[in-house]
Symmetry: C2
Subunit: 112 residues, 2 copies
Amino acid sequence: MYQENKKHLEARAKVLKAMAHPSRLFIIEELEREERCVCDLTELIGADISTVSKHLSVLKQAGIVIDDKRGNQVFYQLRVPCILNFFGCVESVLEAQAQDHTAFMKIGTVSN
Amino acid sequence: MYQENKKHLEARAKVLKAMAHPSRLFIIEELEREERCVCDLTELIGADISTVSKHLSVLKQAGIVIDDKRGNQVFYQLRVPCILNFFGCVESVLEAQAQDHTAFMKIGTVSN
DNA sequence: AATCTATTTGGCTATATTGCCAAGTACTGA
DNA sequence: TCAGTACTTGGCAATATAGCCAAATAGATT
């Protein structure tokens, strides 16, 4: 049941893991808009350029972005167009959490 | 640009990170079908029950599942219905990778 | 109460991730 | 060729994750 799908589950997990970092999510959102060079992303994120470069490398390894060297600069773009739609469900989870949190606070208010 | 969204990006990343493990993806798929107790999932996955319990705890912390204790057992179910649709895009990434791999092998064949 | 089953938690080790700095590579332009 | 810019890679320390075993908790059964 699990062992049979394991390879596929691992492949999926690898993609999700690559996305599971705030800076990398930011990069994905930014690239959804338009391609960007490393220096642009570095400026936007405000970390060391080596850090951003490594994040991009993670995304590239996972097949989420592709790079294109043009002169001095390396431009990254999304490899699949759907990534952003993808977040609808993540948002649902967050909204459900927010509702619970609100409910929790109300209970807290009532019980005091 | 990044700092303003940081909290939200972190929240999203947390959800993705919770999903980014083969056993946890398996659990999510299984719960999409029907609710399951820890012992069922443990049997299906074939790891120590403490390991599975901790995976479930990660999913619960992330707001992806909820638990319901009935008698001796704890039943877990998905908290939001959309999780599985969610994987369409992950699949696209994997397919794109597969295509590249095929292309690479063809190039290899031609060049030899 | 004693025991059994189901689950969680603590503790441990091995391994992976993150982010910085420093050093290396690659292209550009004087 | 030399210097400057853009980027990547190596190396390191801090931190997080994974999975097992052992121990603790909680409900069920006798």
